[in-house]
Assembly symmetry: D2
Homo-oligomer: 208 residues x 4
């Protein structure tokens, strides 16, 4: 394997990139100036140096330069203005970024780190269910009232919703915290005529 | 215009059919046997003869052979088992067929006959708002408790929802009938990461 | 099966139409005026009455009103201006219409009536190979010099090309008629980078 | 601009990547291990160090480790087995890789470095037309007999073909070298019915 193959095999890991496009990326880099490659190489190292994982929500974020490394809190968890009453549990970083960008939610977040496969033995090693329980216990003291489960509407998302609710059941009962899930129904652009049965059922059940 | 052009121009009216496919339909018919064409021609006439518009829900339906023509009621409106407590108001026949097929709703229907364009002067001539009011007054006596507005999630669908609610306001108030709309939120297959802001807002608002 | 099912099953035969769209066609017809249905029904019968199959090229065409039924010749075969030196052999009517519309060819046509499946025992019953041989013998007297095989570039199209060449071999040799096939190479919009190997090979071989 | 924005803006330059996917790439990198980032960073530098541009065909390639830096020849130009009789002129590196991979061509290559825009004053600064002329003069001594122009079938590709032919006209005449272009016609998967007029015209003209 020469350097072209090695780089192509890394780019193939990138989200949405196949073998062919991975190789085009390498040829693209070959045709750039040395300065371009150096810049990319250095930015990747800089990203690695500046990235930290928030020890509260498990989100990856860029450390503010001036801040000492001891405080590994992302800017949402560190923000005193964040509403402590709700905790939105999502699968992954890009879900959090998407909700944050929509400016429709102002509470806290927790990144579960994955969905629970429907047939799966070793679940606990893959998602942060124990970390979530500890987070809930801590947040209770800060005023947490409701946990909002926000997973994709798919068999695996539904399965994860059920799994997390069961795992949290006794804890939230003892703490008096509510658990909810994102509302299901018609989404923007949905035409009634082409809706699937589950969506119609949810839209009817959740009418208001 | 010869017969090919004339037929192509009719097929071009069919839902989802463009100029090119319309002509392919004609060439397809030309290559079929005479029996095939005769069969199609006769079925179209038969459809025309057997189709009726239900004078209760305004749906088009096929008359049962034995039934005298005086009773122009579709099988849903004629069915004593249909739940009289809810009336689902949809835009068009294919919306009704889709909900019916999903077996998620067991009440009555009303076909409005269109959506209300956002800039529109002559709305009343285009949708059956007066017929809807009369229908509601009649159905009240049969036990109607709730009107469910079921329009597509689009600017025009939302506008129609608002328009119909305003038009019905005093009537439903005086009759003590509730008006609801289909629930909005995440629909099947929606990924959180790619949801638009409106859908996220609705999914959060309608969490449960 | 009621009339809706029967009509839907006919529309499902139409090129490119599936079950769902076939039913939408029927609902569309149900919502049209009786005059619309009558018009469609009559045009289908008129098409059937006016359509004829050219006994020279086997194309379906619309008979000119004034012409007596004895002369079953399409307007291309009947046109004294059609170049008798070339005969373009195509699979089906829509191929002929497409070439005719392009105004790039001015000779005679022959519709083979299908392609030859790669594994097939009863080929002769399905394509007009015997009719083609008779046509060639007749056309020789009118000045035929070249037969152009014009099939799609696919395994079945290539197989048909080979099959027809073999079948015609001794006849065209004895008559001194040339057999050619449409040129292969890069087609409009082809980008070199995304070309398949066969196309590149043909483009290189047929460079000029 | 923080490091996330800076990296995203570099990834946005990558072929086929938009703003959204560029940011996903950055979030993807943030979630990888430090070793992953270091590996990527180092491979990009290694690529930059090992890449060279062939001074014969202008292709970018990876230098063989053992070779001294003085010999900047790619492995095709350095290969004594490469057929010296033909020179394939392509727009860009990925076109060359595609033809090479197809194993349908065994001669030499020349990368022009771009296409000639239809309205363009300063062409010579953008494509390597002078370098091509020098290359042809050199290759004549090695046995060059034919230059094959291999551009995409598009208005700009056709324009470049014409432009290069005009520029080379007197030179190739004096040297007795032939200029050809890739063959045009039906390409793999083309259906006759859906072919555009230019493709049909070329397929008829280039029949054989």
């Amino acid at each position: 394997m020469d350097v072209i193959d090695k780089l192509a095999s890394i780019f193939k890991d990138f989200p949405g990139i196949g073998e062919r496009q991975a190789r085009r990326f390498v040829y693209f880099l070959m045709s750039r100036t040395p300065a371009y490659a150096t810049n990319l190489s250095e930015l990747v190292l800089e990203l690695k140096k500046e990235v930290a994982q928030c020890h509260e929500c498990f989100r990856f974020f860029i450390r503010k330069k001036a801040v000492t490394s001891s405080s590994e809190l992302c800017e949402i968890c560190a923000d005193a203005g964040t509403d402590p009453a709700t905790l939105l549990v999502v699968e992954k970083d890009s879900d959090l970024e998407s909700v944050k960008k929509s400016r429709t939610y102002h509470g806290k977040y927790f990144i579960l780190g994955g969905l629970v496969p429907i047939v799966e033995k070793t679940t606990k090693q893959r998602i942060r269910i124990e970390e979530l329980k500890k987070k809930i216990s801590r947040e209770k003291k800060s005023g947490l009232e409701e946990i909002i489960l926000a997973f994709s509407i798919s068999p695996q998302g539904d399965h994860t919703d059920t799994y997390v609710r069961e795992e949290l059941e006794s804890l939230v009962k003892s703490l008096g915290i509510k658990v909810s899930s994102l509302g299901k129904g018609l989404s923007t652009g949905t035409e009634l005529e082409y809706s699937d049965n589950d969506t119609l059922r949810n839209a009817l059940k959740n009418r208001q």
